[in-house]
Every structure is written in C-alpha cells, then in structure tokens.
Symmetry: C2
Subunit: 197 residues, 2 copies
DNA sequence: GTAGCACTAGAACGAACGTTCTATCAAGTA
DNA sequence: TACTTGATAGAACGTTCGTTCTAGTGCTAC
C-alpha cells in the first residue's frame, strides 16, 4: 500500500483539532451559537470522535477549548510584555499586538473567553471557573511585569487589574466598531497611567 | 423614555413587557441562549403577541431589546456623571454605581449589549449596528462631560474612549469573578488618568 | 345587531440541536 | 487465527428551537 499520510487526518491528533476548532468558533460567536456538528466538521472529525474524546459532551469540550484559547492568549500577552523592559511601553505593545491580531483576523480573534464567559455568568460553575482562572493568570502575568520594574506589589496588582480591564474593554469596542482605534488609545493611556506611579 | 410615537394606541403594556423581558434575558445570557418562548413566558405574554408586535421575529426583537437596555444604561451613566462637577470624581462614581448595580443583581445587570454584541461580530449588521450606536452614544456622553470641564475636544474624545473601554472590561472581570474589586480599582485609576490631563 | 381591527392564545410544523447508538476499522497481543 | 482496544463513522433519537397558522377575544364604529 502506497501510504502517504491520509488527506482526511493531518499529522495533528484528532483530539487537538477538535479542541482548536471549538476554541476558534467559541471565540467568534460564543458557546450557544456553536454547534457540535459544526465543530466536528471544521476539525475534520466525526461526531463519534468528539464524543469519544469528550464523553462529557459539549460542556466538557467547551472547558477544554477555553483553556486552549486562554493559553494562546497568554502567549500573545507574554510576547508583548517581553518586548520592552519598560512596563509602560510593554503594555502599549500588547495593545498594538492585540489590535493587529484583531484586524488581521477580521475582528474575530480576540479574547478567547469573553464571549463564552458572558453567556454563563452564574449558570455554569465549570465554565465560569475556567474563565476566572484565565483572567487571573493574565492579571498575574501583568502584575509580575509591573512588579519587576520596581512597582510595589500592592500597586502592581491593582494596576494589572485595570490594564486587563482596559484591554478587554477596548477589544470589545474594536470588534464592535471594526476599528483599531480603541486599542491604540488604550495603549497610550495605560502607558501614561503606569508611568504616573 | 422612548414613548412610541406610533399612531397606534399607546395602551401597549404587552409590547413593553416583551421588550423588557428580552432585554433582561439577553443581558444575562446573550442572544442564542435566550429562547422566544422563554421571553414570552417571562413577559406574561404569548407567542402570538410576540410575533404580532415583532413580525421580523427574534432578530427584530433583539434589536429593540438592545436599544431598550442601552437607554437604561445611558440613564445610569448620566446619573453617575451628574453626581459631581469634577469629571474624575464623576467617572469614579459611575464605576461605583455600576459595581453596586452588578452586585445587587447577582452580577447579571451590567452592560446590556456586551454579551449579545460579541456573539454577532461580523454576522449580523443590524445587531452590530445597534451595539455600535449604543457604545458611540456612551462615548459621546462621557466626552461631553470631560469637555465641559475644560478638556480639549480631542483629548476628551480619546479619554472617553478609554473610560468606556475600562468600565466595560472591568465589568466583565467583576461578573466573572463575582467581585466588585475590578470596578472599584478602575474607578480610582480612571480618576487619576483624567486628572493627569 | 355586525363588520372590522388590534390583540391574545396556543397547537402544529420543519429544522436543528445535543446525544446515543451500533457498526466498522486498524493495530496490537496471544 | 481469534480477541481486545482505541478510534472512526454516521444513522437515528428525542427534544427544543423559531416560526407559522388558525381560532378566538374584546373593543370601536357604523
């Protein structure tokens, strides 16, 4: 048998493809608007495979997709933060990076948890917890950068919170208005705020 | 309030109840997770009434619900902004007001457009437009307050953008973590940022 | 009266949903 | 060979969805 890798199943594992497809779709349109059959189709998998890897069904897959998306967002944030020793400049770079990613993806690839999280406030502990963990990790990442620049722990933790709030909100504004402006403005204002401490 | 200027009889409690119920449900869990039958039930109306008043179906009702919720949020914002002549203090009061409203409603009554808007980025012009209009109105409201305090129009418009971004993002963090902290921190930081101009 | 209209009421429909089910394939083990 | 196990495949199930449809109510005007 002349055996090149099957065109149907690329090198990546089926499970990973399912998680990635779910993460992308949920990031774009939230949980409820995303059907399991569509996830399977986009992943090049079948329903049988989905339920084989995720016997807990859609909810279990959603939690995993949220974690996967959160990790990618963490990487993006880390890239921005590593761009400069000056935390103000580093945060501004995060805003620029986020704005570019958003525009290049037609305003779809933003925060991977926001849309889904808002659907489930007080309605699904598992999903709310996964969202909370992601936001908490990003906040600590930011606080670490600020603290490393000599800002006191207390101030750094609070600043990190506002930086995250502003980036999240500016991303919402960018996506709704299909414009990079809110994130660019946010970057400048956040840098100014950080430098004031 | 938006008294319907329609030539029809204003004795239309049912229509208003339907819009209000839809607004509440969509604010809490977004569009897709909100069923029309549930809306009718919560409004004390029937499906017949819903489709009588909204022949365009769920989408048409959603746009109206978004507008209704946006108006209520405008009122809340205006209340906060009117609380002080100092724009920094007024914005901080908005954050406090928002935090209290969130807590008192078990973290459900926040921005009425965020959840739904995120579901429809690039997928429904009508809903995206309604969301964009709401965010634009809030931004202008904030810019007006800042401009009235002597801040130049250009700076005021940009500041208003970041204030809105930060409040929106902080609200997301509050809801996910079931805590008032992000909004309280945001209020203090926004006041500091405004005073720096 | 009764004709007309705005509104209420909910049964019924087709489509889509998440899920379950059985069957099959491929590879490893004995 | 036969048996096991992880993974694939998709038909089928019951439910719920948004929507449509027909019937009925209450009110106003003639």
């Amino acid at each position: 048998m002349d055996a090149p890798p099957a065109p149907r199943a690329p090198a990546d594992g089926t499970r990973t493809r399912i998680v990635r497809a779910a993460a992308v779709l949920m990031q774009r349109q939230g949980y409820e608007a995303t059907g399991i059959k569509r996830i399977a189709q986009d992943a090049g998998a079948t329903l049988g495979s989905v339920y084989h890897f995720f016997p807990g069904g859609k909810k279990e897959l959603a939690v995993e997709a949220l974690r996967h998306g959160a990790q990618e967002f963490t990487d993006l944030l880390r890239t921005g933060l590593d761009s400069s020793d000056d935390p103000a400049e580093a945060v501004a770079e995060c805003a620029r990076l986020l704005a570019r990613t958003l525009r290049d993806s037609d305003w779809t690839d933003g925060c991977p948890v926001a849309a889904t999280a808002l659907e489930f406030i007080g309605r699904s502990p598992a999903i709310q917890l996964a969202s909370e963990e992601a936001l908490g990790r990003w906040r600590e990442l930011l606080a670490g950068k600020l603290g490393a620049a000599g800002i006191s722990d207390e101030v750094a933790r609070e600043l990190a919170c506002s930086v995250l709030s502003t980036l999240e909100g500016a991303e919402l504004l960018c996506r709704v208005s299909a414009s990079e402006e809110p994130l660019h403005i946010a970057g400048r204002h956040l840098a100014r705020l950080i430098r004031s401490f």
